[in-house]
């Protein structure tokens, strides 16, 4: 029972990271109708930026954190202008292929610059964690969960209560109508990419002390996050979060009770099971493409 509680805590912590990246997927998908296959690389790049600032240059953690997030905002701009924007009038297939190309480019550029050795980034807090009864609560996992909860609340407030959020929603639902109402569609898409890149980067920075910082971390996280969005119901914000948490828990228990080397395979099995038996996901939104 103690082990179960411990695994549950760890699973929710990992799941929260998947949920953050999944949220980035969903936001871009809703704004542009395109799945950004480079979403995971945003996390990877942000983690490496942290390593450069906090470890290599030895700058304070908070400063490195802010600089890394600023770097991600910049990357969001470059990504939009270089990859999505020129192709915005094409069908979804070329755009998907371009984002896959961008993902390969980012991952391997980092590899070429930094080499294949995984890097270590220490956690935000000095204290490694607290013992609460039978369960050991790792401080970094606590931070991940707290930030995820805060971001979900912020996200809700931003999209439902602010004018900018409403404009973003209008753009994602009907671009033509939004532009007729005087909303600058290209500015809204730019904001979406910046926000998603920062969100992905935040997930990467948070998870970096738990995993190693490696070239593969981006694609691994992205695959899990994508599976999470399908499990939750594609295009649904609540679904992405629930799906991410569920996947983190399933994976942690799978690794503990079934097999460690195949840990990364469980997400795929759950994904295929959902595709066959319940393709609309738990929350059942927007299955196939629009007719």
């Amino acid at each position: 029972m103690d082990l179960v509680l411990q695994l549950l805590f760890t699973g929710i912590g990992i799941g929260a990271v998947y949920a953050l990246v999944a949220l980035g997927f969903v936001l871009i998908f809703r704004a542009t109708n395109v799945v950004n296959f480079a979403q995971g690389e945003f996390s990877m790049v942000a983690a490496y930026l942290m390593v450069v600032f906090a470890v290599d240059l030895g700058w304070p953690y908070w400063l490195s954190f802010l600089l890394a997030l600023g770097g991600m905002a910049l990357l969001g701009v470059v990504f939009n202008l270089g990859v999505y924007y020129p192709l915005r009038h094409r069908t979804f297939l070329p755009v998907i292929i371009a984002t896959i190309g961008a993902s390969i480019l980012m991952a391997n550029s980092v590899l070429a610059i930094y080499g294949p050795q995984p890097q270590v980034l220490q956690g935000w807090f000095e204290t490694p964690g607290i013992q609460l009864g039978p369960v050991y609560l790792d401080s970094q996992y606590l931070l991940i969960i707290a930030v995820t909860v805060a971001l979900v609340i912020f996200n809700y407030w931003f999209f439902e209560k602010t004018l900018l959020g409403k404009k973003l929603q209008a753009t994602s639902q009907d671009k033509e109508m939004a532009s007729l109402l005087g909303i600058s569609v290209s500015a809204m898409i730019m904001i979406t990419f910046i926000y998603s890149a920062v969100l992905g980067g935040l997930a990467g920075i948070l998870v970096a002390p738990v995993l190693f910082v490696s070239i593969q971390m981006g694609s691994t996280i992205a695959l899990k996050a994508f599976a999470a969005t399908i499990i939750g119901g594609f295009g649904d914000v609540a679904g992405a979060i629930i799906g991410g948490l569920a996947l983190g828990v399933i994976e942690t228990f799978g690794a503990a009770y079934i097999s460690v080397p195949y840990k990364d395979g469980f997400a795929f099995l759950v994904l295929v099971a959902f595709l066959i038996f319940r393709p609309q996901g738990i929350f059942g939104e927007r299955v196939a493409e629009k007719a």
């Binding site: 395109v34 799945v35 296959f37 270089g82 990859v83 020129p86 192709l87 094409r90 979804f92 297939l93 070329p94 998907i96 292929i97 371009a98 896959i100 190309g101 961008a102 993902s103 390969i104 480019l105 980012m106 991952a107 391997n108 550029s109 980092v110 590899l111 070429a112 080499g115 294949p116 070239i215 694609s219 695959l223 994508f226 599976a227 399908i230 080397p261 195949y262 990364d264 395979g265 997400a267 795929f268 994904l271 295929v272 595709l275 066959i276 393709p279 299955v287 196939a288 493409e289 007719a291």
Partner: protein, 593 residues
């Protein structure tokens, strides 16, 4: 389905077409010469390795040209399928001591089945699902290759892989691979002009239109995906025999991306493009070996290549060349058809061709169509009219199977089609056009109409083969007045002409009932008159038409019978003049006094 006396196939036109194999003889002679060269020339080991790699990789990339180029579906796990073939030959010839041929065959079959399963679980959904699922699948396969040490020898890989008795020398084996490449290349090159190949192109261009023209969209996609995987397996098996050693890193996600880049660079739509792309991307890294000294650098360049190609050269290198060829071919005229188009709609049921009872379609709480009855009598033109938002187009979409009916029953010429998917309704004799034209944009007018003529159960083409198909399509195009421009691409036609091509596509299928969705929308007055003439000529041949339109002049002159919808319900039905004077109809259109 129809009485044979009514529907005898026309005698095949007396056009003498030389057998396909004779026409393509130059290709086979050229291929034989290349194979002989590969067998005779004395290459040193380095060149031999490059040639072996280029040959086997090309076959795998051919698979991508089928799934991505022809069918428009993505596959990011081609290296995994390649790996299935390679490990089948690797493990089979070493640990299991089986014959090379058996292992090669088994590898193809395993890859094919894996592809079919993966496709069948995902291809009903949108394209981004397929992309992610294939990436995940690729990762799983790599995990198994590394961790299932008992089976795959893990990271060490399998060495001392055997070759067949006859082909022990590298030179001989290379010649064999080149022969396989030539054969597969021929099949893939010829595929777009076959029935299944046309279906794949139609699915790529417009899934909805493909469905209502009698193509089983899902099955076509699964075939394309499985074929791609099978070719990957074949290529992998040949690769294993060539290099005698396989290890997991040769079949990683990075290799799948390399395959994708090769395919995009050369031109995704054609095997020639695939071969060019493969050749270039194997040779260029050899010339730029220094790039490989920095890990990641050359893959980063591949990633950049992918973005640049997609943006600036979406059809690849070969796309430039073949575009020019297509434009040149547009000026050649197709042979005029031997006879005039004959419409012989099947007659099985009684006087009523289409019997719709209690048809409803709800979207959540919205009752778009609510308990509508329509009975369309055989012969003549029946119109379905109503103000905007009255549920006309929804009714048509339910009739053709694009929407599932919430309740009610649809009987077409004695067959209950209520539960059928679109392509089966088309096979049962339903034809339709769309308000917003849905043609296959990358094809010529003739090819578009050929897909219509290919409807399963079209007795007017029968088993006549390609010649009869072309003949039928030419007849239909000539019937609508566009026969002389048959070889032009869809984009070169005006809006009104595109509409006529859509009608020709439906007519070529020899339907029992033709549904026309606002055919006059967007036409100028001359075009409207021509359309009216055309409808008369169609009706004169006994084909029943159900038409939706806003143009009251057209409707009142063309239709003998009118059904009026308002707010999803039927408010009037009967002989056209009587219906148009009906007080409810007048008030629905003009408001009550």
């Amino acid at each position: 389905m129809s009485a044979p006396s009514d529907n005898m196939p026309l005698a095949a036109p007396a056009v003498r077409v030389r057998p396909l194999l004779v026409r393509h003889l130059p290709y086979f002679i050229a291929a034989a010469i290349v194979v002989a060269l590969a067998a005779r020339m004395q290459f040193d080991g380095y060149i031999l390795n490059i040639l072996m790699q280029a040959t086997t990789f090309s076959i795998a990339v051919f698979g991508l040209s089928v799934v991505l180029g022809l069918c428009g579906q993505i596959n990011l796990a081609q290296a995994a399928f390649f790996g299935f073939g390679a490990y089948a030959v690797g493990i089979g010839t070493t640990d299991l001591h089986l014959s090379f041929w058996l292992c090669l065959f088994a590898g193809c079959v395993i890859a094919l089945l894996a592809g079919a399963f993966l496709g069948a679980s995902t291809l009903r959904l949108g394209g981004h699902y397929l992309a992610m699922v294939t990436i995940s699948f690729q990762q799983i396969v790599t995990l198994v290759m590394i961790n299932a040490i008992g089976l795959t020898h893990g990271p060490d890989g399998v060495s001392n892989i055997g070759r067949p008795q006859l082909l022990q020398t590298s030179q001989g084996y290379l010649a064999f691979c080149v022969a396989a490449l030539a054969l597969v290349g021929y099949l893939v090159w010829h595929l777009p002009d076959t029935k299944i190949g046309r279906a794949m192109r139609a699915v790529r261009d417009n899934e909805l239109a493909a469905g209502v023209n009698g193509i089983d969209v899902f099955r076509t996609k699964v075939y394309a995906f499985a074929l791609c995987a099978g070719l990957g397996g074949l290529a992998g098996g040949l690769f294993a025999g060539g290099f005698a050693y396989v290890s997991p890193d040769q079949f990683s996600f990075a290799e799948s991306i390399v395959f994708l880049t090769m395919s995009l660079l050369g031109g995704v739509a054609s095997p020639i493009g695939s071969a060019i792309g493969t050749g270039l991307l194997i040779l260029i890294p050899e010339w730029l070996r220094f790039l490989k000294s920095v890990p990641g650098l050359y893959l980063a360049i591949y990633g950049l290549f992918v973005i640049l190609i997609i943006r600036f050269m979406p059809d690849g290198i070969w796309g430039f060349v073949s575009d020019a060829f297509t434009r040149w071919r547009a000026h050649t005229s197709a042979p005029a058809p031997a006879g005039a188009l004959q419409l012989k709609p099947a007659t099985v049921g009684g006087d009523t061709v289409l019997e719709v009872t209690g048809l409803s379609k709800y979207f959540g709480g919205l009752k778009a169509v609510d308990g509508v009855d329509i009975a369309v009598k055989r012969g003549g033109v029946h119109a379905l009219i109503g103000p905007n938002g009255s549920g006309k187009t929804t009714t048509l979409n339910v009739l053709s199977g694009l929407y599932k009916a919430t309740s009610g029953r649809i009987v077409l010429d004695g067959t209950d089609i209520t539960a059928m998917p679109p392509h089966q309704r088309t096979a049962a004799g339903l034809g339709r056009t769309f308000q917003n034209i849905r043609l296959f944009r990358s094809m010529t007018a003739l090819e578009n109409v050929e897909i219509g003529a290919e409807r399963p159960g079209n007795t007017m083409v029968g088993k006549g083969g390609d010649a009869a198909l072309t003949e039928r399509a030419m007849e239909a195009l000539t019937f609508v007045g566009l026969g002389a421009r048959a070889n032009q691409l869809i984009s070169s036609f005006s809006y009104g002409h595109q509409r006529l091509i859509e009608i020709a596509r439906a007519l070529a299928a020899n339907p029992t009932l033709l549904l026309l969705d606002e055919p006059a929308a967007g036409l100028n007055s001359t075009e409207k008159l021509d359309l009216h003439e055309l409808l008369k000529r169609i009706a004169a041949q006994g084909l029943t038409i159900l038409i939706i339109d806003h143009d009251m002049t057209l409707v009142s002159e063309a239709a003998q019978h009118i059904t009026v919808l308002n707010f999803g319900r039927r408010i009037a039905d009967g002989e056209s003049m009587a219906v148009l004077r009906h007080p409810d109809v007048v008030s629905a259109y003009l408001g009550s006094e």
